[in-house]
């Protein structure tokens, strides 16, 4: 019989919600420090070349200025220490527009900012700078990463020539930015030889090791404190130069230093989603059986190191197809290094793949849901492993019913409502389910007949609700009411854990906490030296054995047998759009995401995660685009006034449904992760709905009104 007292699986409110709305939750910049100084970064105004002269005299004399730090006086750092994006003030070389070239440290932020405008820089510009993507993309290079080598199955792309039906199209996605609400910010405090960094970090231990290595310190000399994070979306996964530069400034002026990036600086300091051109070639029989799938991606990356998001990932596993090719080519550019961005590779990759599937369905005069179900793979086509579970068909079928898919008109451009055209679109998505090594510590104390628990784990909460689901896990695991549980996360002094990245957070952290609960209960049982017919909880044992205090730590890793399976979250996205037929403005009036992600620990925070991903997907589909001026290499879009994230009016009714599934293969708690998958397939569903409404296939995001004008 199921235990209905369990709090896991209940949609309870966030345990830290009140703290957040009352301003008591401490984000990086909220840490007070006596005698704080303020650092402001200044940046290069060329994309490639070197600094030949830098005059800082006026800035140094400016009111309140303590010190100006440039490559001339900055300490030597280890540039291979694991920070992303360079820009550590180690020399005069410039590799991208907006590279940090120095910082002013002053008594106030305003004084540092004013002084930063007084710095005169002379450059020697490198005329071979690589800043024109359109030109460079004509001659892309082979990627360096081994995982990006061409992947050929069967006869590869050559099978296309035999296909009865063919689709060959290119899909383009622009540079996008993470732009979390909380900009990247650090308070650096030295205590003797030790350094504390208050700094929003998705991977606490990763931030610690990278900062320590870059500063030539031992990891234990650096402490990262990050209990709350105002979003990151990947940009606070790896850490960037600003973190260590705050520590450098603090050391040089011998005071605590606060360094906050401005919104403008966020455009070129902390990574971005790369620009991609994805060519999809589909071959199929006349009755809709896929015979060929080629997914060839050209992406930009940085000149001095390589990151590209793997756009072909969905194409590896989504459909049964005997012949396939997944390939990557890169265009190194003088730009900040791209980085993990929500649904890395899958959100952009699914846009290409799932639009192409829609194009194929249209050509075959088949329902796009039926086409997908027809090509459903029995096992993972990329490695032949059985699925731990696969919910694509369920997501499609249950979603179609809930959304009213039958109201979709198969012929595009035939569904009207007043002056608006209505369209329906569908697209699928997926993201791997993994568990990463994590450990947790539990401290129990008995006071006045009640057992209190403190759960310690160097987990991070991006604002997603990690704190809450871990408290729920502990409450069930220990038999202690939620109100008596204190969570301690986001601190590198706590037991090491994985990060809130790649949808591994919930499974890694929750399993670590759950295992620690099991271990502490076992230990208490052993200590009691009694036999029980029904296994008591840790709570029962503390009380019955009158144990004043008890503590244990344990570490967890993924079950060995998980390796033998292919484990993923899956979804199906349904979009309804309404488009003014004269002005071309698109509104997503309804959106439904149906997700199969194993055990849902808290339906309320899970829904927020999914609809948050959906909203970014609306931005990806309709509004978000960053433009590089190919003459200078700078961002021609440079503030929230013109980098358009969806506003309230852009978001219609959103619904999230979860498939009720039990899949205990990926990990003991059956948790698969929902952070990334929420954005996968969203842009494609909307683009497909736009086609259904208008008959216009827009293959270049975002779908702004100019692209839909009557021709």
């Amino acid at each position: 019989m199921e235990n209905t007292n369990k709090i896991i699986g209940k949609g309870i409110d966030r345990i830290d919600g009140i703290m957040k709305i009352t301003g008591k939750a401490t984000y990086a910049t909220d840490y007070p420090a006596k005698n704080m100084a303020y650092a402001v970064l200044f940046k290069s105004t060329i994309a490639s070349g070197k600094i030949v002269e830098m005059d800082t005299a006026d800035a140094e004399k400016s009111p309140g200025v303590i010190q100006v730090i440039t490559h001339k006086n900055a300490p030597k750092l280890n540039v291979k220490g694991g920070l992303r994006g360079g820009a550590l003030l180690q020399g005069p070389e410039i590799t991208f527009h907006g590279q940090h070239i120095g910082m002013v440290v002053a008594e106030t932020f305003e004084q540092a900012t004013a002084a930063s405008h007084l710095i005169q820089v002379k450059y020697q510009q490198d005329k071979t700078e690589k800043i024109d993507f359109d030109e460079l993309a004509k001659k892309p290079e082979m990627p360096k990463g081994k995982e990006l080598a061409d992947l050929v199955r069967g006869a590869g792309k050559s099978a296309l020539s035999q296909a009865e039906i063919k689709i060959e199209e290119a899909y383009e996605t622009p540079i996008e930015h993470h732009h979390p609400m909380e900009p990247h910010a650090t308070v650096a405090v030295w205590e003797g030889e030790n350094l504390i960094l208050y700094n929003g970090s998705q991977i606490i231990n990763g931030a610690q090791t990278a900062a320590a290595a870059t500063l030539n310190l031992r990891p234990e000399q650096v402490r990262i404190v990050s209990p709350y994070i105002g979003g990151g979306f990947g940009s606070k996964g790896g850490q960037w130069a600003n973190v260590v530069l705050a520590a450098v400034a603090a050391k040089m002026v011998n005071r605590p230093v606060k360094l906050v990036l401005t919104r403008q600086q966020m455009f070129n300091s902390v990574g971005l989603r790369q620009r991609n051109i994805q060519k999809i070639s589909l071959g199929a029989t006349k009755d809709g059986i896929l015979t060929t799938l080629a997914h060839e991606t050209i992406s930009h990356t940085a000149v001095d190191s390589e990151y590209i998001e793997p756009c072909g990932d969905c194409s590896k596993i989504m459909y049964e197809v005997p012949n396939s090719l997944i390939s990557y080519r890169v265009v190194p550019m003088n730009l900040i290094l791209p980085t993990y961005t929500r649904g890395p590779g899958k959100s952009t990759g699914s846009f290409a793949l799932e639009c192409a599937m829609d194009e194929l369905a249209h050509q075959l005069k088949m329902d796009p849901i039926a086409l997908r179900i027809k090509n459903e793979p029995k096992k993972d086509p990329s490695n032949g492993k059985p699925w731990s579970s696969r919910t694509t068909v369920k997501c499609l079928e249950e979603g179609a019913k809930a959304f009213g898919w039958e109201k979709r008109k198969a012929i595009p451009g035939t569904h009207f409502s007043g002056e608006n055209l209505i369209g329906y679109g569908v697209a699928c998505g997926t993201y791997p389910a993994r568990q990463r090594d994590s450990s947790a510590n539990i401290k129990l104390t008995l006071k006045a007949g009640q057992v209190y628990a403190i759960i310690e784990i160097a987990a991070s909460d991006l604002g997603t609700g990690t704190n809450t689901i871990l408290a729920q896990t502990a409450a069930d695991g220990l038999g202690i009411p939620l109100s008596l549980i204190t969570m301690k996360i986001g601190d590198s002094d706590l037991p090491p854990a994985a990060g809130s990245v790649g949808s591994v957070g919930a499974s890694s952290f929750a399993n670590a906490v759950n295992d620690a609960c099991t271990k502490i209960t076992d230990e208490l049982l052993a200590k009691s030296n009694k036999q029980f017919f029904v296994r008591p909880t840790a709570n029962d044992l503390m009380i019955s054995e009158k144990i004043a205090a008890f503590e244990t730590q344990s570490s967890s890793k993924a079950p060995a047998e998980a390796e033998q399976y292919s484990a993923h979250s899956f979804n199906a996205n349904f979009a309804e759009v309404s488009i003014n037929k004269l002005t071309g403005m698109v509104k997503v009036t309804r959106f439904l995401a149906v997700t199969g992600a194993g055990k849902i620990l808290n339906p309320k925070t899970a829904r927020s995660q999914i609809i948050g991903g959906n909203i970014w997907g609306i931005g990806m589909a309709l509004t978000e685009e960053s433009v590089i001026d190919p003459r200078y290499g700078n961002f021609a879009i440079r503030s929230f006034a013109d980098y358009h994230v969806p506003a309230n009016l852009d978001v219609g009714q959103l619904d999230a449904m979860f498939i009720n599934e039990v899949d205990m293969i990926p990990n003991k708690m059956g948790v698969k992760g929902i952070g990334e998958v929420g954005i996968v397939g969203v842009a494609a569903a909307i683009a497909n709905a736009v086609f259904n409404a208008t008959g216009k296939r827009i293959r270049s995001l975002p779908i702004t009104p100019d692209k839909l004008l009557p021709s």
Binding site: N634, R638, A641
Partner: protein, 325 residues
């Protein structure tokens, strides 16, 4: 931002007494403060107009008077504006966000500066910011820029929505001068084309204070529209916008007033379309002809050719909405 002195004026003459070539007035601050933070504007003194008794909206013998310091939100929601000048109400509400409109003043709205991103990027050439330095937008990313009336010095567009309606409504701007004198500027002459002096957005002289905007009576209330096409549904500047008002006799257009936003360095009065529609039947065919006629003079740049077709469609759409009333 550079350090600056903050002074408070309690009445218009105090404000005019305090102003000097390096000082700037502060109304709602939603534009001037951004420009200061971005180091585009560097006044050494800020003169706060917040206490000036210029925040009323009141009927006059000839129409209605909008105080320069009255807030955009209050103006848009004022019952007389909603009843007699619905086009203005709609235009204001199509701009910015609720929070910004709550702060923005009517005078400040008219004087907001262009949103050309090179104007904001202080390391880029920009004749409007630094006369003689060049125009980065001309051969740069100019999707948002002008298709009418630009010069080889500047291709920026004027961003206000409110002003587009004021232009169609033939408003006058009342200005107080430092010598205590007053002058009234017809709206069509208030904003300027860039010509050789893009640093000048309008015909206001530095040190002059806007006291009110005067709206004459009109017969458009039953048949007017403000349509704004933008990259998202709120909180985005216009790609193209159209304010249109018809005076109808049966199904004949007696008078049409039409102004466009997002297409020029000033509110663009669509005089060709107005002339064409005068005394014509209000039919789709005539609407289309008028729209084509107006847009035929457009000179697009590399990235904004779409504004010609978008302009046509938006004009037609606005005409249809105005006709329906």
């Amino acid at each position: 931002m550079i350090p600056f002195k903050f002074s408070i004026a309690k009445n218009p003459s105090e404000a005019l007494g305090l102003i000097h070539p390096h000082a700037a007035f502060l109304a709602g601050g939603t534009n001037i403060l951004d420009l200061m933070k971005e180091h585009v504007a560097q006044p050494t003194e800020i003169i706060d107009l917040g206490r000036l008794p210029l925040n009323t909206i009141k009927p006059t013998a000839t129409g209605i008077s909008l105080g320069a310091l009255a807030k955009n939100t209050e103006t848009a929601n004022h019952q007389l504006i909603r009843k007699d000048y619905p086009m203005l109400s709609k235009a204001i509400l199509a701009g910015a966000s609720a929070q910004i409109r709550n702060m923005a003043s009517n005078g400040g709205n008219l004087l907001q500066r262009t949103r050309c991103s090179y104007f904001y990027e202080i390391n880029m050439p920009c004749n409007k910011r630094v006369p003689g330095s060049g125009c980065a937008a001309m051969k740069g990313f100019n999707r948002m820029h002008a298709i009418f009336g630009w010069s080889d010095q500047c291709v920026a567009v004027y961003p206000s929505d409110m002003a587009i309606a004021l232009s169609a409504l033939n408003a006058n701007v009342t200005v107080m001068q430092q010598n205590g004198g007053e002058r009234s500027i017809p709206f069509i002459d208030f904003h300027l084309l860039p010509k050789d002096h893009p640093e000048k957005d309008n015909s206001l002289k530095h040190g002059e204070l806007i006291t009110s905007i005067e709206l004459p009576k009109n017969n458009f209330a039953g048949h007017s529209a403000y349509i704004k096409v933008r990259d998202r549904h709120s909180y985005a500047f216009a790609l193209v916008s159209v304010a249109a008002g018809f005076e109808l006799q049966g199904s004949t257009i007696k008078t049409a007033h039409i102004a466009m936003g997002g297409v020029a360095h000033k509110p663009w009065r669509a005089l060709k379309a107005e002339a064409f529609l005068k005394d014509k039947a209000a039919t789709l065919a005539n609407f289309t002809k008028a729209a084509n006629l107006e847009m035929s003079a457009a000179k697009p740049l590399a990235h904004n050719k779409f504004k010609i077709e978008m302009g046509k469609q938006t004009l037609i759409h606005a005409f249809e909405v105005a006709l329906k009333g």
